[in-house]
């Protein structure tokens, strides 16, 4: 519809900059008045300025360059209705739910909940009005909107939600999920699925501890486990290459086999039947535990590792030949083949990477928990899929990227943290997760009507 970066006039740019600086100054003054630490004030000042200028450029640009409205056609109200029908239905639905909840539950109607409601409503409105201007990165835009909305609602309603401790723990769990869904994203970009991830996670978790308990040096054991992970990924890729439509089932089958095989291996000669006991080395638990330290800074290194992975993958997929070829293959196999891109090579490589990161997640989870458990990866079976889907990577291939998945991971993590915060148990969380995935995907990943595909 519109170019992604509309240009503004110089005066508009200057006005934006000035307003941004004024806002930042107000923020700084308030910060000093409240007596927060200097680093925090500087950080938030920079963030405010950057966010405002970015928003000014993108958001205002959409309105400036909008085409003049024509007077023909249906009446104004009818046109608005046609244009924003899903959003309006959503608005009414949210209002109704809020009304019912206020009537049903005592003390529900307080100021914080009203503000939360307003934030929710503004998310819906913004995604429909602005979201359609972002053709390329619409899902990312919506994801960021939902993320910020959820986070602000959580910070207002829940004591200690925005505390360093909680943010750290959210990032820690997001890092596990994020590393686990690297492979799922890459495979989904080719139009495949990898359901063996949770089984490889569990197998790596148990297998690593088993190797350590056998007396293998821990560093060697980790390398061994990661190598085996790659090997399993290669096997997955080779087996499913000719059966691409059934990749879901092939990987499920290999997953079953891997999980069973590793448990048999670890049970040989013991009477515990699949339970492995051993001590996790200190550096491994430091890597992933809550109280881990990265070069003297008080956060676990796994977050830094995840950050590095994000950086490498997003830049690599956007700017290197390998990344572009991957997208080319995902969009159209035939044309990719015409320019000499080997489908087999990429298919197997992506599954190998998936196996590697699954094994890495399993090893890191061993450091986090300190004990081997084959079922540690079970929740990742659907969570990795959900993260990919919520982020906006199409399961049909060729669309999306790891950056999107990161947003999906964060949304899921903040949501689950929020649900725990308001005191919901696991089963309710799962229920709400299930109900929320659908509208989130429906916001941006609707397929066209059949009559437009002929």
């Amino acid at each position: 519809m519109l170019p992604p970066t509309p240009s503004l006039s110089l005066s508009a740019n200057i006005i934006g900059l000035v307003v941004g600086i004024i806002l930042t100054v107000i923020g700084v003054v308030f910060g000093f008045a409240q007596g927060t630490s200097v680093q925090f004030i500087i950080l938030s000042a920079i963030a405010t300025l950057a966010a405002f200028v970015w928003g000014w450029r993108y958001v205002l640009g959409q309105f400036v360059s909008q085409a003049p409205q024509t007077d023909e056609g249906p009446s104004e109200i009818r046109r608005v209705w046609l244009q924003f029908r899903p959003a309006l239905i959503g608005l009414v639905a949210i209002l109704l739910v809020f009304l019912v909840l206020s009537l049903a539950i005592e003390n529900f109607f307080n100021i914080w909940n009203v503000i939360s409601l307003l934030i929710l409503l503004s998310i819906v409105v913004l995604t429909r009005t602005l979201g359609r201007q972002f053709q390329e990165n619409r899902s990312a835009f919506i994801g960021v909107m939902v993320l910020s909305g959820l986070f602000s609602i959580g910070a207002m309603n829940i004591e200690g939600f925005a505390s360093t401790m909680n943010i750290k723990s959210m990032l820690l769990f997001a890092a596990f999920l994020g590393i686990a869904s690297v492979g799922q994203t890459l495979v989904a970009l080719l139009g495949g699925l990898d359901l063996s991830i949770p089984f490889i996670i569990g197998a790596a978790n148990v297998g690593l501890l088993y190797l350590i308990s056998l007396g293998v040096p821990p560093w060697l054991a980790v390398i061994l486990v990661l190598t085996i992970g790659v090997a399993l990924g290669v096997i997955n890729g080779l087996l499913s290459y000719r059966l691409q439509g059934q990749a879901l089932i092939v990987t499920l089958g290999t997953g079953f086999a891997i999980s069973g095989g590793v448990q048999i291996l670890t049970s040989i000669g013991t009477a515990y039947g699949g339970n492995v006991f051993g001590t996790v080395p200190g550096w491994l638990s430091n890597l992933a535990a809550m109280n881990g330290v990265t070069f003297g800074m008080p956060f676990p290194p796994v977050i830094a590792i995840w950050g590095l992975i994000i950086l490498i993958l997003t830049i690599g997929m956007r700017y290197t030949v390998y990344g572009r070829y991957l997208y080319a293959l995902g969009v159209n196999r035939t044309s990719a083949k015409r320019v000499m891109i080997s489908e087999l090579k990429y298919w197997v490589t992506m599954y190998a990477i998936s196996g590697f990161f699954a094994a890495l997640t399993g090893s890191l989870l061993l450091g986090w928990s300190g004990g081997g458990f084959i079922g540690v990866g079970d929740q990742y079976l659907f969570l990795t899929l959900a993260a990919v889907v919520v982020g906006g990577t199409s399961l049909l291939g060729g669309q999306g990227g790891y950056g999107f998945t990161v947003i999906g991971v964060l949304v899921l993590q903040v949501l689950s943290s929020f649900l725990i915060g308001i005191g919901l148990e696991f089963e309710w969380q799962q229920f709400i997760f299930g109900l929320l995935i659908l509208p989130m995907v429906a916001l941006y990943a609707r397929s066209p009507h059949i009559r437009t595909q002929i």
Binding site: R242, I249, L252, T254, A257, F431, G434
Partner: protein, 472 residues
């Protein structure tokens, strides 16, 4: 795919559905059946088959539920079928506990209505919100499995009284079997309708179906409704099996049912799948578990089961890759005839396992005494020598058994002869270019039936088919 169409063109008398894809499930079925019978002859007894029916029926029906929507295309693998079964199970138990659902009619109506209502919602979301079906099913999986735990936090509750003795599995003819047979027959009748043709067309190519005037929305809703009915029936069979409520057990059915569906030769891409294949796929999974249970792996039993599940799944998927090569040499494959031919082999294995092990026990009374002691624990591992030598052993039949053999011999010979001739004619028919051999096949088989009837009458024991002999 062009080869598949030529096959169905060449055999219109088979209803156009002679899948070569059934080759793998049928072979696997008889392989596993033979192995299971050799390992533990108690499978082919009234109690053995009865318990097999009880245990396998929920899985078979869940596979049917998946099959109905998978045929509809768009990659509609309904991951939520397991939680849906669990949901019906859990709510059924809770409502029964509250004294609402008492009569069988109400329970059936409730289960089927809930299943159908859920699937209707599913179909409407797929059609009007236009989200990929796999995402809808993922969403349903999470939501329903959470909700199940809310409704019934831990396993418990009591099934309705009239359902309590269904799950015993002491006789073959239980109400659960009736449900299974009705469901299968219902689907077979459904395949004769134009609606089913539309469904398959839509599954293979939705755009082609739309342009040729198939009401695809109606067809999709119909497929989902049928799937919902199967899911409701599966939930009832599941409730009968465990006689209580269990919020988490149902979810495991998702993965197993998908596995069974694929083992049965259905295509997850849509357009291909049948009740026979799905049935065999589910039964195969049951047999795998059964065979593995006869080997005593002790603590690693469940791991070995997982390993075997996964390996067999992958191998059978890889075997579907060589089907085009098989097809090139075996142009006119008839799954029915293949099934009959292999079932004769399986029958002989069953007869051998049922009778010859017994006579072996009579020959060696001292080991027989040991066996009676050991028979209190159900599945003892058979020692190595017995596995290898037993099939070669000579039986020592007594008087009664010799008489029975004499009576059964002509029948068995006749059956073997008939199958061999039928296979021969079928091959000849498929190799020849002329399609007019079909009446000849029919006439020859008819003649053989008459001859067989005459032969059966001649030895003087008219009503002694081998099946009734081994059932004792």
């Amino acid at each position: 795919m062009s080869e598949a169409t030529t096959v169905s063109d060449a055999a219109p008398s088979q209803g156009g559905r002679s899948y070569p894809f059934l080759l793998v499930p049928i072979s696997l079925f008889f392989l596993l059946l033979g192995l299971a019978v050799l390992r533990s002859p108690s499978l082919i007894t009234s109690a053995g088959i009865g318990s097999a029916v009880i245990v396998a029926t929920p899985l078979i029906l869940a596979t049917y539920a998946l099959m109905a929507v998978v045929i509809a295309g768009r990659g509609t693998v309904d991951l939520s079928v397991g939680p849906l079964i669990g949901f019906v199970n859990v709510t059924l138990i809770q409502l029964h506990g509250a004294g609402v659902l008492e009569s069988p009619l109400a329970v059936f109506a409730y289960a089927i209505a809930v299943g159908a209502a859920y699937q209707l919602l599913f179909a409407l979301i797929v059609i009007y919100v236009r989200v990929q079906p796999i995402i809808v099913s993922l969403s349903g999986y999470l939501a329903l499995s959470g909700l199940n735990l809310v409704i019934l936090p831990r396993p418990g509750g009591v099934a309705p009284q009239w359902m309590a003795d269904w799950g015993l599995g002491t006789s073959i003819f239980s109400p659960v079997l009736l449900i299974l047979v009705l469901a299968s027959v219902g689907w077979m009748l459904f395949t004769q309708t134009a609606f089913f043709t539309h469904l398959r067309l839509m599954g293979s190519d939705e755009r082609a179906a739309y342009t040729s005037g198939v009401p695809i929305f109606v067809v999709r809703i119909g497929a989902h409704l049928i799937s919902g009915c199967f899911a409701g029936l599966a939930a009832i069979a599941f409730t009968a099996l465990i006689s209580s409520g269990d919020p988490s057990q149902g979810t495991t059915y998702t993965l197993i049912a998908v596995t069974a569906l694929v083992l049965g030769g259905a295509s997850l891409a849509g357009g291909r799948g049948g009740v026979f294949g799905s049935f065999l796929g589910a039964i195969n999974l049951y047999l795998i578990t059964f065979v593995l249970a006869t080997f005593n792996f002790g603590a690693v039993q469940s791991f070995v089961t997982n390993l075997a599940y996964g390996t067999i799944l992958v191998v059978s998927l890889l075997l579907t890759l060589i089907i085009p090569f098989i097809q090139r040499h075996l142009r006119n494959f008839s799954p029915l005839l293949y099934f009959v031919a292999l079932s004769v082999v399986a029958l002989s294995v069953i007869l051998h396992a049922t009778f010859d092990y017994q006579s072996q026990g009579q020959v060696q009374p001292e080991t027989g005494a040991d066996q009676t002691v050991a028979s209190s624990q159900m599945l003892t591992p058979i020692d190595r020598e017995q596995i290898y030598v037993a099939p070669l052993e000579m039986a020592a039949p007594n008087q009664q058994e010799s008489a029975m053999r004499a009576a059964a011999a002509p029948v068995i010979l006749f059956i073997l002869l008939m199958v061999v001739i039928a296979v021969f004619l079928r091959v000849a028919f498929s190799q020849s270019d002329r399609r007019s051999l079909a009446p000849v096949v029919a006439v020859v088989i008819l003649a053989l039936v008459v001859l067989g009837a005459y032969m059966m009458r001649y030895p003087g024991s008219p009503n002694a088919p081998p099946v009734s002999v081994e059932a004792e």
